[in-house]
């Protein structure tokens, strides 16, 4: 079959690979479940945490400092979004665009100085 006739034809190997992978993923665990020996114990039924000992349930409260860092990250990270369209059009925007972006960045710097001096970036306090 000429691949140019049917655009989907070029995806045939992918489909075969998907089928094979899916079949393997089903067969191997079911074989292990059927054939393997089962000797449950208390140690084995605890949750696996990369080999170290379990340190309690996962649904704990997090310290507020994580939230503060996350909040600051969101705000400054998303503002960076505006830099991309400007960078792409840097040549055509010229000096005017450059100055505009400086003003924008200066505003962010005011915010940065504020949170810095307020100690929001200090991890240990």
């Amino acid at each position: 079959m000429d691949p140019s006739l049917n655009p989907l034809a070029s995806y045939l190997p992918l489909a075969v690979a998907l089928l094979l992978a899916g079949a393997l993923a089903l067969i191997i665990p079911s074989l292990a479940a059927v054939l393997g020996p089962k000797r449950p114990s208390a140690i084995k039924s605890t949750s696996f945490e990369a080999g170290s000992e379990s340190s309690g349930p996962a649904r704990q409260r997090f310290a507020v400092k994580f939230y503060v860092v996350a909040l600051l990250f969101i705000v400054f990270d998303v503002e960076a979004v505006f830099l991309y369209p400007w960078a792409v059009n840097f040549q055509s925007l010229g000096w005017f665009g450059y100055v505009e972006m400086l003003v924008f960045a200066a505003t962010l710097v005011v915010g940065l100085i504020y949170i810095w001096k307020k100690g929001a970036l200090e991890w240990e306090s």
Partner: protein, 100 residues
């Protein structure tokens, strides 16, 4: 290609989901996420129409909405933390200090 109407229906469904979530959910954080869902539904609508009309306005709008949503999220989370600190719970049912 997926028709535009599919995106619009998806956006409308998300918007309604968010709206009912705000009205009936009791956990402050979930309510807050529902509001974000509504904003994103509006965003999706902007993008779908922008694709249909082939102009930039909708794409640019999405940028601004994302930035505004981030600012709103940071203030909102800060307020939720303040609520939690003052009463040890973020259940909306508990917020009944002020009555008629």
């Amino acid at each position: 290609m997926v028709p535009i109407s599919y995106y619009l229906i998806l956006a409308a469904a998300l918007f309604c989901l968010g709206m009912f979530g705000v009205l009936i959910r009791r956990n402050a954080l979930v309510v807050f996420m529902c509001v974000e869902l509504m904003l994103n539904a509006a965003n999706l609508t902007f993008l779908a129409f922008a694709k249909q009309n082939g102009d930039f306005t909708g794409h640019v709008s999405a940028f601004f909405v994302i930035a505004v949503a981030a600012a709103e999220a940071s203030i909102g989370l800060a307020i939720v933390i303040a609520v939690f600190r003052s009463r040890g719970s973020i259940n909306i049912e508990d917020m009944r200090t002020m009555k008629y």
